[in-house]
Symmetry: D2
Subunit: 504 residues, 4 copies
């Protein structure tokens, strides 16, 4: 599936860093944050923001926000401005029409009676409307429509029992978590501490890494926290562990400490977003103790079992479906994996008006066929998902014109049919190909010789069989979050079964 035309978007990526040891630190915190955030760029390209604290009392905060990719939002001058700081959090956001304004950029910083707090948020509050009303009834005006501001103002509200001169942020965060069960992975920075919080359902990912020291003199250079572990390799950090569902972790210069684990309602399983595995996350990230790439490969193998094909070669729609295609090939003895498409990575950004002739011709603008690899052959083409169905048809046409005798589409995930209210930007129900009448005859509609999808059971099995053999699971079992089942995933976009009852 191609990113630009999928119409599916992860809302955000969050990243934080706290330098260990004596402050002022030698660690270039803004550089670590920039590189860490760049590794999360696939989770959001609209805007980026960063807030640093020197951690003093009172602290000095330095902030910068900008539109576009991290590289555009943080030009050299901005990094110059941000060069001092002992800890910081940052955020990258997905572009959805109409909300693309600088003031919606995160992290959100507000001044409170006790000083400034900064909040970066990935997810979507399922009961945001009720909470907005609550906050506004209290007399707070909200200047944006973002959940991040809402969370910040909820945290700013003094709880009745709190002492006036000593804010109990953990109590406030727990309070917030009681008000809203999902979905959020949060970073909250206050003075010299970053709180890393994951909602009780664990819907959005969040994990911790440790900066590898350059020399052996140090035990640690600092701690980082990220939406995905893929950030860690590019900054010289080691994967440490996931933040658990419902966990509030305090990261300070002294290290990482669990402050509380807020339980789910009795009987509810966790609900980690299955689409992180299928499509959003970078393949080298680790969730629940397993590499995303491996899960995708397993989906491909499972797909080969569920939907075998009589064909000569198997290939991928580059680049996201490659692990699934290789998995499919590995499962079928004698079915060689080849490449059939060459992608032009520059096309997406070209300013081409809708051109009648090319539209009539149905040209796959972004791809060139590697003709000699498959001419005269029957091709199984594995894709990771089909959302609108607009891009697959021209690809099939391209392959057939280049000489493929048959093209069989195998999709390594079930059809998407339902909206997500927990942070994933999915096209409207009407735009989803799986909800259109032509889905009944989708193969004919897109020009394929056959089309088959992975089943929900197949997907869940591919995802969950990796967990049982992993140490992460053990950690999860031993965790205090013992309510209900220990493994569970949100499949709402595929099944319509939401992890909690929705408010309207």
């Amino acid at each position: 599936m191609e990113f630009e035309e999928s119409g599916i978007g992860e809302e955000c990526g969050v990243f934080g860093c706290v330098a260990a040891g004596e402050w002022p630190t030698q660690l270039e915190v803004a550089q670590v944050l920039t590189l860490g955030l760049t590794a999360l760029q696939h989770r959001g390209q609209e805007s980026a923001g960063m807030v640093l604290s020197n951690g003093a009392s009172p602290p000095t905060y330095t902030a910068h926000k900008g539109m576009g990719l991290v590289s555009t939002a943080f030009p050299a001058e901005a990094l110059q401005k941000l060069r001092y700081g002992n800890l910081g959090i940052c955020h990258t956001r997905y572009s959805t029409t109409g909300h693309s304004e600088l003031q919606n950029c995160q992290p959100f910083v507000v001044d409170t009676l006790h000083g400034k707090i900064a909040v970066a948020h990935n997810g979507e509050l399922v009961n945001a409307q009720r909470l907005r009303k609550k906050v506004m009834r209290h007399g707070v005006g909200l200047s944006t429509g973002s959940d991040s501001e809402l969370i910040t103002q909820l945290l700013a509200l003094t709880p009745p029992m709190e002492e006036l001169d000593a804010p109990d942020w953990v109590a406030r965060i727990k309070n917030l978590m009681t008000e809203t069960p999902t979905s959020y992975s949060l970073l909250v920075m206050y003075k010299d501490v970053v709180y890393a919080v994951r909602d009780p359902y664990g819907n959005r990912p969040l994990c911790i890494g440790q900066l590898v020291p350059v020399s052996k003199l140090h035990s640690s250079e600092g701690w980082v926290v990220s939406s995905e572990s893929c950030s860690f390799q590019s900054i010289g950090a080691k994967y440490y562990r996931e933040v658990l569902p419902g966990e509030i972790v305090q990261i300070s210069k002294h290290g990482v400490k669990t402050l509380s684990i807020v339980p789910r309602p009795e009987g509810d399983p966790p609900a980690f977003c299955i689409f992180e595995y299928v499509y959003f996350a970078r393949p080298d990230s680790i969730f629940e103790g397993q590499m995303v790439y491996t899960v995708r490969q397993r989906c491909g193998r499972q797909l080969a079992i569920e939907a075998p094909t009589d064909a000569d070669v198997v290939s991928t729609v580059p680049e996201s479906a490659t692990p699934a295609a290789l998995g499919y090939a590995q499962q079928v003895i004698g079915l060689p994996y080849i490449e059939v498409l060459c992608k032009n990575r520059y096309v997406g950004r070209t300013f081409i008006q809708p051109n009648t002739r090319l539209r009539q011709l149905g040209v796959a603008k972004k791809f060139g066929a590697l003709t000699d690899n498959f001419a005269g052959k029957r091709v199984v083409l594995v894709d990771d998902s089909i959302v609108r169905g607009n891009t697959i048809a021209p690809i099939i046409k391209l392959l057939k014109e280049a000489g493929a005798t048959e093209v069989h589409i195998r999709v390594a995930s079930p059809p998407i049919r339902f909206p997500c209210y927990m942070g994933i930007n999915i096209p409207t129900k009407e735009e989803l190909i799986a909800n259109k009448p032509e889905f009944q005859e989708i193969a004919r509609h897109i020009g394929a010789d056959s089309v088959q999808y992975l089943t929900v059971e197949g997907l869940l099995s591919a995802v969950q069989q990796g967990i049982s053999s992993m140490q992460e699971k053990d950690k999860m079992i031993s965790s205090r979050n013992t309510s209900g089942k220990r493994v569970g995933h949100c499949t709402a976009c595929l099944t319509g079964k939401y992890p909690i009852e929705l408010e309207w």
Copy 2:
């Protein structure tokens, strides 16, 4: 005095417009706002913002903000986006180092329980710190350091006695005015109404105009409200009247209506900023029934009386001191007014590094001498004020090298010695030439043959003698704001006497 190097800055200009008659209006409200705001550009060049409402129930708001001049902040695409609207308010801001961020741009818009309100503010709350604390103690986080956000959040706070479903904005505004006596001229937009508010001391200006109808079929095309009346000519509006100190005016499609006049403490006179007359305001604006140009001319006449000079010609430091220089010339029979300097309006924006040679030469980069006009003559050079004293010295040098036999500096205002806490950005006490040791021998220091300033009494007389003969004064007397004296001006930056006791 040259703008760019004066270091003195008015914080802001505010402007609003409400179309009269049936809605949707034919009036291009965004165009009127843009032109009106452009006429206030001298009050702030850092950023500009605009919010339009369609006035429906519930209303749709459209907003745009941008950095730089109005023309930069509102490119064609922005005006396209803003093309529908029946009423709106806008704001332009002065650039002061460190606060130059898009998120500080006004108008500030927040969503409340009763819908969105938009606030544009000119001035500075003298007790802002106490009010911030109050708001934050209530549990509201403040995302900027701007008074505008503070005011907006104060207005959002539900008063205890208010009915939940019917916000009483007038009561809330009066409440706000009770909390903070000065300094503010405010525009508050809510649904289909703009409230225009001036603080009880009348420290910042605010006036109302009526849009002249194109044909006789209409009685009015709408109403406008502006920091200065100079806005009105450029949009085809007639000056209507000032908003009175303490007055809350409601502007709707039905017209202009006084809702309340909040009194000053017993015995306190009004405190309209005298520097608006001296320097900030555009000369074609009208305050207290008199044209600013005329006041400046009168200052020049008064200066000629207080500080006569034995000289051959009198001239101006272009362009702001010209009315005073002409006034000076009119007062002295036989002293011709001439031009001695030609200004290069492009220099200010050139990227020239501090150049040792030119600095050593002490070159007046922005000016050329009109040599033949004054060579061999004794020149009286009138300036409107001297702040840091950096620019006048090279000008004197230029004139002398070009052949002036004597150069006498006459300043049409008293020395500035004290900070302003009511909305004017004045350099630190240390930077003001009048507080430096060299002020004792300023003539020698800047190379003049003599230097003389207008007295505070002279300035007050020049300002106030125009009021007694004007109808505006009558209006003021008849107003319900009868507390204390009826005429009064804030001279704090000259005398250190602030209109209210300052909180620290």
Copy 3:
């Protein structure tokens, strides 16, 4: 007359600098060039370019060009790149629709058999088409439509008699001057020398200045050459003299040296552009030994004699007409000079669509009336020229609405009726108000009570009476360019009499 709407444009300004003494020089040549060029910004705002040479053998050239004002075209990075150089030339260009491309920017640099030459040109070759053909017939392709490239290629053509290894640039320049009589003021840089050249008719201005040394140890810091002497004050240079019509001056580190004076055809007078005096030049510039401001003032006096008015006050359309208005006032005893208009310098750049209402209202967007100065009075309003007549009508309307009982327009130059082929961008004949039918009743057309223009004779007298008393004239007489009369001006745009017969 307002610049932005006049539609009249000077094509260009040229400026050069050669450091004196030992090289590498301590003089910051690029800074001198930037400041000098900025002082010529009124001659062209479209683009700016600069070429520096280190003067070595072979020389290293550094160049930069950019669109927009000097300040935009030369950002800090560009100046950084240009920081080394012992001599250089630069150029600023006027924006005329359709030619606004970076590749048309000057100076034009080409590589020849003998190394690079750089050329900056102000003017327009009257026989450009014939010369283009000639060059192309020789087999040279021309990549732009600019005269500057054409001149450069003409200079590159090896004359038949020249030795192959020793280019005789002076002979080549003389050759060029023989091919094309007017109009050009040229700067040609080759290795360590700048040649300053003015055409035999002296149609475009060019003058030389000497950099004042900071300390007494040096006799000179270097030499500068500029379209106008107004450049000199802002860089600490003294006016030295004009380049004479037909003169080729060599400027090197050793000083200034006349190489040749190419004569005009027998009997032809010089033809310096009279519109430089009327409108284009900065008032503090000196031409033919007299200050432009003084000439304009004299035009105002002459106008008062030719077109007296029964009125109460006299005023100016700011800013360019002020000297003429002051001259008018000085000539009429008892007629006070006042200001009637306040100009908003920000309007010109605002992105306002043609707004029906404002157009119908005929609003003078850029001006505010200084009402109290003239209400109830009869006003003589002096303008320097009227080109299209679009801006004067709304100004008159503004004054009348503000209370002027009569408005009499007096124009300090004759009507413009003819195109210029010598470097001034004048609107088409059809657009000139003086060629329209309504010119017969222009007072009624623009709403004035009367309109009167200065006569051509009056203008010539105002211009030339200053020359007779000046030393510059003596220099001109003593010059070797003794052909024909010694004083003469091009009045083609007013009279249709061109200094040479035009080719078609």
Copy 4:
């Protein structure tokens, strides 16, 4: 090999289009050009330019040039300006320090006695210095250092025998080809014709495509010509044929016609650049009748034969080495192909200062390890070439830290040791790892367990064995260019044997 850090750059890509049938054409020529050029973006990212002709007599040309990617250089407004035209040529350029100026952008357009010609050029003239001298000796000044301007001026020079009013462009092109034997693929547009020219050695690629008609009513919608055939798929064109070495093809609305084939010196074989196969070209392009991807795959197979490895898995440095890696895997029974690296495509553009810590850690910023795929295994990592050796070391470190027990580097091309003077931008001899002392122990130097390169013979065999079986070869044999051998490649960068003797 990663593009950004390879330091190797193809100079350019050229593309042209001529609409067939009646003019004005319905074909959106500028859109076809933009898309076609975008498919050549890998050949140059510095700047892009386009010139359209309406083909009338005299023709109207429209041109646009811009810096950056095609998408940046051609914003919507530019495409709007370019929307009319019946034929056109365009060009994209590689960024090499110091020449990155807009005026070096191609196509180069000059006006000649016979009207404008436009030239787009890929390659580098081996005897450019001599030709520049020749042109300059003729009296032509050259305004850039580009070969494209030089070629244009050479074409503009009228040959002695030519009639004055009828330019014989073919004779001029042949003349040019006689003057300079290599290296160039040229597009020359004049009025209604595009001439496509390839040098006699065929050093740079050039091929022709035919636009597929939308409906059967047309025989052709037009013709396109491109540096690489990969352009054709994205615009709905079919591959037609290569332009032969030495061939001059005329493309007009009537079709494609060979005008001449200029022979090589007796005995000289063709010299098509072998690095087009190894690295530069897009894998879906076709040269000499074979797909580039297939050649690379064959290089991988040959490498497996020449340099077998005892290992568990084989993988690629994404993305350019993938065909070679798959070829290697196919050759070795039981050696599975897996992915070991995940590439972050956003890193390249991030503004990160050289960070001491990361440099000390030697982090592979752009890559994440797909740990679970290879932990505990011996990895063969195939790269397509190693230029400076800077990027491979951190990758090896990354793999080892992630658990690879051995990492063996196999390079699918021979070491690069010599500069290219024919259009490829290769780092200086000193920067090439193969010329450094550490190359003797390269495995130890980069941390690999072994390093082996493909031999020159192996590479030539992999390239040439595909030609013998292809129809293209037959065409080449039947061509009139019968001088010398029929198949031959330039391997100068590998062997130091240049196809012609170099001039100095």
